[in-house]
Structure formats: structure tokens, C-alpha cells
Amino acid sequence: MKIVQPPSLKTRKRLIAVAERRLTPHEVREALAIPLTNSEREESLSLIRWFRRRYPTAGERLAYVRRAYRRWSAVQEA
């Protein structure tokens, strides 16, 4: 198994900047004009169905995400 090293702080900051960038109206219109493909829809719905089945109530879903975020944060800080 290949061990993947986490990205450097500099790379992480760059990735965050890219992810948080505010798009232009033109970019937004272009992105919104791309229709969902059937496979994309099915892939998303499969994930949503699993999550709803595993955590039937909104309260359980929110609690799960709090736990997941704590785990993710702990890995980032390690």
C-alpha cells in the first residue's frame, strides 16, 4: 500500500483559496447551464439514499456530521 503524505501547509492554503474563490457571474451561469447527467444523478442519489437510510432523522444526520468533522479535524491537526 502506498503511503500518501498530507499536503504541505502552503499547498493546503492554496487549495483553500481556490475552493473559496468567488466565481464571476459568467462562470456561475456557465456552470449552472451544465445539466446533470444520469450517472451523476444516480451516483449522488445513491449516496443520499445510503445516508438517509443509515441516519433516518435530521438530528441523527447532523450529529453524524459533527462526529465526522471532529475526526477529520483531528487528522488535519496530527
Binding site: 481556490v18 475552493a19 473559496e20 474563490r21 468567488r22 466565481l23 464571476t24 457571474p25 462562470e27 456561475v28 451561469r29 456552470a31 449552472l32 446533470l36 451523476e40 444523478r41 449522488s44 442519489l45 449516496l47 443520499i48 445516508f51 438517509r52 432523522t57 435530521a58 438530528g59 444526520r61 447532523l62 450529529a63 453524524y64 456530521v65 459533527r66 465526522a68 468533522y69 471532529r70 477529520w72 479535524s73
Partner: protein, 158 residues
């Protein structure tokens, strides 16, 4: 209050009992609807006349506002924080990046109420309205969220 000790259901109960007109938006709203995405913060869109009521309700949980109610009204947003962070939007209306005016009162009228636990509920926008709120900031991750919401909307429409 430490983040790990944060009582999420109590937080929502407190908001509900305050009577403040508060819509959960952002990624927590997606999660509540059944879309598994990761997020750190809570995002609310609050009626501009309910800032004080909302702040007083969560103060016992040691969530403190970064701005006074007056400042928040003029800025259109503020933050409540301790180890948790709650971003609060308080504008009467907000334009999307591509120029659509989104009005709080209209979203509030159309809101969906989701049960969290016995006697605790949270109000969220309809899927169409939540998609509009995702076009306020229009970051790449917002557009990804819109596609997930569109998939969910296609399922709920059938």
C-alpha cells in the same frame, strides 16, 4: 462551552423556543435534508427584526455576537462564536452572484420544517430556495452543492 460539549439539539431547541424566524442554510441544511457533506460552521438566515431575540436565546450557551444588533443590521451579517461558529445573515434580501434578488420573507413563508428529535424542529428553505442561497457566494464548492441539491430535487419531484 467547549466544542466537544456542544449540545446540538439543545442549541436548536433554544432557537425554536425563542420564536426567532431563523432559517438554517449552508451545508448544515444540506446535511439535515440527507446530503452527506462536511462542514465546520452553522449558517442561519435570520429575520432582521429578530437579532436580539436570537442572541439572547443562545447567550446561555456562551455563544457571543461579534457585533451589536445595530451593527449587524447595517453590515447584513455577523457571527456568534465560542468554540463553535455560527454565521448569521440578517439582510431583508440578498442578490445572487448572477443577479437574482432573494427575499427572506418569501423564503420564510415557503420554509420546510424538519424534526430533529421529539419536540425539536429546524426550519430550512425549500430545495429551490436553498439552491438560490447557494448562489449568494458562488464558490466552487457551492456549485458542487447545487448539483447535489438538484439530484435530490429530481428525486423528490418523482
Amino acid at each position: 462551552m467547549k466544542g466537544s460539549e456542544f449540545e446540538e439539539i439543545e442549541f436548536f431547541r433554544t432557537i425554536q423556543e425563542s420564536g426567532a424566524r431563523a432559517l438554517l442554510i449552508g451545508r448544515r441544511a444540506l446535511v439535515a435534508l440527507g446530503i452527506p457533506v462536511l462542514t465546520a460552521d452553522y449558517d442561519f438566515w435570520l429575520h432582521i427584526d429578530d437579532i436580539t431575540r436570537f442572541n439572547e436565546a443562545v447567550e446561555p450557551m456562551e455563544l457571543f455576537p461579534t457585533h451589536t444588533s445595530e451593527e449587524a443590521r447595517s453590515r447584513g451579517r455577523y457571527v456568534l462564536e465560542n468554540d463553535e461558529r455560527v454565521d448569521v445573515l440578517v439582510a431583508r434580501s440578498v442578490p445572487t452572484t448572477d443577479g437574482v434578488r432573494v427575499v427572506f420573507e418569501e423564503l420564510w413563508e415557503r420554509r420546510r420544517v424538519l424534526p430533529l428529535s421529539p419536540n425539536v424542529e429546524v426550519a430550512v428553505p425549500t430545495l429551490d430556495d436553498l439552491i438560490l442561497t447557494k448562489r449568494f457566494a458562488s464558490r466552487p464548492k457551492d456549485l458542487e452543492d447545487i448539483r447535489l441539491l438538484e439530484a435530490l430535487r429530481s428525486e423528490e419531484a418523482t
